[in-house]
Amino acid sequence: MTHRTLARLGRAYLGLILVFLYAPILVMAAMSFNASAFYQLPFSFSTEWYQKLWHNREILAAAWRSVWIACVVTVLATATGTAASIALYRHDIPGKRLLQALLFPPIAIPWLITGTAMLIFFFGIGIDRGTPAVILGHVALALPYVIVVVTARLATFDPALEEAARSLGARPWTVTMRVTVPWILPGIVAGGLFAFAVSFDQFVVSYFLSEPGDTTLPVLIYTSIRKGFTPEINAVSTVIIAVSMGVMLLAARYSKFGGDR
């Protein structure tokens, strides 16, 4: 086999994988435009489900809640995560390796375990279920992502710049805000977008922590799938997919994620 045929085969294979990844999503989106409430074929075009969606108070409230929770989480996780990244980068702290290792449990432990553990603990200390508990949990899950992304950006930062500012008499806070932060800003923005995506898409932890009538969109979708749904769920899913993919495209632009560096 020549190198050429092999390359062509490889491209075809990549195409197949893309079909596998996108086909179900496209089918699901197409069904949001099908008139039948029971998903019956043949296909007959209708925007009925989007119109219904627009008047569905429950879904809209959940969507709005998902968005503002994600915004709050983004702000909190980005602020605390960036601060921690700068400290880890700038100071040779005793136990640094341990501190870095501690970032992994939220990523590495299955969310089922983290979520149920949070439920037990928050229940025990009286925070109870509800939006504050959801935000607490989401920030913890998003923090490691922010720290990893911001730290990666910090690695490209020349400490001599801080030295220079300091030797010119700038106070530490000024150095941080005027020299360090502007340089790592793209990393902070990317970290923030990751935090948004983690929170906006988070299902498991929200599922255990949210309160009846106060659910986020993914939880509402899960309960709907289990307890009866109409293509309205397809419609709202299509919207979510569009939003989260849009956010990630933005994040990719800022972090040059995976491109040729």
């Binding site: 375990i113 149920t116 553990a117 607490l136 898409d201």
Partner: protein, 287 residues
């Protein structure tokens, strides 16, 4: 940097670190400790329910065999999904890293990674729509084949595996791609110039160098799949009882939180053991 840390610097560092680590303590580490305590209780300390400290929940795991069997079933599911994802994902990463060049590569890479950041629940729901008896897959195959077929993959272990591979495939593509990208092309060129056959280059150069990336991807897939409950629940039908769904039931329906906590802890032990076993490779991959 480096050198001894001045007291002032130390305070500053502590102030910067405190919010993040206090947060993690409150939302992750204390809850895990609380769960350890709960797993030793006889009933939920709720209202006027009677409770005492006991090892019964762990004993239930050892004695009935049901839970152990389910854990084994979930581990097997994890192995299947991981193996299929690696087999399908590695060649894909190889094509991305070594065949496609320039802007096309960046675009393709983004295309592959994007679904990974879209809602997993929505994607599982998509498969539920696709796999249904009178669903689109069936209609598509029916249109191609001349005879009447009835494809119904829904509510089978196959459906669960398809849904999970779809959810986690991008992980292994991502990690393998990062490892493959780090391999210097001139190394491969040199081997080729010396007359090494393609097979040898793959087995002796590419695979060993990409191994940490593959292992990292495999762990990132295996861990969540062992604890999955939503996917089996939505795609598995009557065959959808797994270790994760039983834990979910303890918390959501049966109200036996202590048993749920004990089962979660056993799962955690399994996951930690696997992470520990894979940690040398993980460390290399993340460096």
């Amino acid at each position: 940097m480096g050198g001894s840390l001045a007291r002032k610097d130390r305070t500053r560092a502590a102030l910067l670190l405190a919010p993040a680590y206090l947060w993690l303590t409150l939302a992750v580490f204390l809850p895990l400790s609380a769960m350890a305590f709960f797993s030793l209780l006889s009933d939920v300390p709720f209202g006027d329910r009677e409770w005492h400290v006991t090892l019964d929940n762990y004993r239930a795991f050892l004695e009935t065999g049901t839970y152990a069997a389910l854990l084994w079933k979930s581990v097997k599911l994890g192995v299947t999904v991981t193996a299929l994802s690696v087999l399908a994902g590695f060649p894909c990463a190889l094509v991305l890293a070594k065949v496609i060049r320039g802007r096309a590569r960046e675009a393709m890479f983004l295309l592959v990674i994007l679904p990974f950041w879209s809602n997993s629940l929505v994607r599982i729901f998509s498969w539920a729509i696709v796999l249904r008896g009178n669903g689109v897959l069936s209609a598509a195959i029916d249109a191609v084949l001349p005879w009447d077929v009835r494809v119904n993959l829904m509510f089978s272990p196959t459906a669960i595996v398809i849904g999970l591979v779809h959810s986690y495939l991008p992980y292994v593509i991502l990690t393998s791609y990062l490892a493959l990208q780090a391999i210097d092309d001139s190394l491969i060129e040199a081997a080729r110039a010396l007359g090494a056959p393609r097979r040898t280059i793959l087995m002796r150069i590419i695979l060993p160098l990409a191994a940490p990336g593959i292992v990292a991807g495999a762990v990132l897939i295996f861990v969540p799949v062992v604890g999955s409950f939503m996917e089996p629940r939505l795609l598995g039908g009557r065959l959808g009882t797994y270790y994760g769904t039983v834990i979910e039931d303890q918390f959501v329906a049966v109200f036996n939180w202590p048993l749920g906590a004990a089962l979660s802890f056993i799962l955690l032990a399994v996951v930690l053991a696997i992470l520990a076993a894979a940690s040398p490779a993980l460390r290399r991959a993340l460096r």
